[in-house]
């Protein structure tokens, strides 16, 4: 498994966000665009992930959470967020990121206070899980770039996506 130190990655992501801020009028639009691009990445990333890890199908959302935090995040971003704050129904949890290579040495300027810099991650998680038949909602509950102590991603299970069977001849 090929790895490289995160500097180029961090700078490249920064170049992308900078470009998007130039191309779009406001932070909300940039957030949406980052999320969309993340989604595109996610639907491809899942195949790479399944090919490279020996993880089988997860039996429930708890297992999914663990795999995301301990295997996927470690494999791609070199970090292991912690899984906490489970809802009583077991359909919602938080990923707490102590560090995040996307935001190394990044500061948000004052005129971009609504920018959710790491929005790409939300899209990636959503896209990847959709490809394994899980519809989820992913959002940032806390963000160190916006003054919080930690970065917290909240993931909520919406529903299982039915596998579309090919339509046979009627």
């Amino acid at each position: 498994p090929l790895k490289h130190n995160s500097e180029l990655f961090t700078l490249t992501y920064g170049a992308l966000v900078t470009q998007l801020c130039k191309d779009y009028e406001n932070d909300e639009e940039v957030n949406k665009q980052l999320d969309k691009m993340g989604y595109n990445i996610g639907v491809r990333l899942i195949e790479d992930f399944l090919a490279r890890s020996s993880v089988g199908r997860c039996h429930d959302f708890r297992e999914t959470a663990d795999v995301i935090a301990k295997v996927a995040f470690k494999m791609y971003l070199g970090i292991t967020p912690s899984v906490t704050n489970w809802s009583p129904a077991g359909d919602e949890f938080s990923l707490i990121l102590e560090s995040n290579p996307l935001v190394d040495f990044v500061e948000l300027p004052d005129n971009h206070s609504n920018l959710v810099y790491s929005s790409l991650l939300c899209g990636v998680l959503r896209g990847a899980l959709e490809m394994v038949q899980m519809a989820v909602d992913v959002r940032f509950a806390q963000d160190t770039l916006r003054g919080d102590n930690v970065t917290e991603i909240r993931m909520k299970f919406i529903k299982r996506i039915e596998e579309n069977l090919p339509v046979g001849d009627e």
Binding site: L2, E7, T12, G78, F105
Partner: protein, 140 residues
Amino acid sequence: MEVRFTRGKSAILERSLTRPKTEVSVSAFALLFSEMVQYCQSRVYSVSELQARLADMGQGVGASLLDVLVMREKNGKRETKVLNILLFIKVNVWKALFGKEADKLDGFPAKVTVHWHKGTTLMIKFDEAVIARDKTLDGR
């Protein structure tokens, strides 16, 4: 370490510039880069415009990287002679980007321009296509 965003004096300026310990996978970078190329493609009408957009994005990366590398590897002393600059690129920059030195000094399309602006500023403009190609070669 205080991570809270402070107005005025920023805590980020206190952080050290040593090589980050975190390692990201090459495929993470490849997927991100591929998405960026597709994004640019959707907004231009010609190949040369695409290359220009990518090069623009790369330029910022190169400029930041230069500062970090010069600080770290050369104690803040920037090379000013052309041959030394190229050697710097061959050894330090390529190592930082791709994990190994460039094979040969001649023959890769990277434009190095010396930019005079309030003193000597070195602008290393990376052809993003080279980075992409090299990254895929590295990935094999």
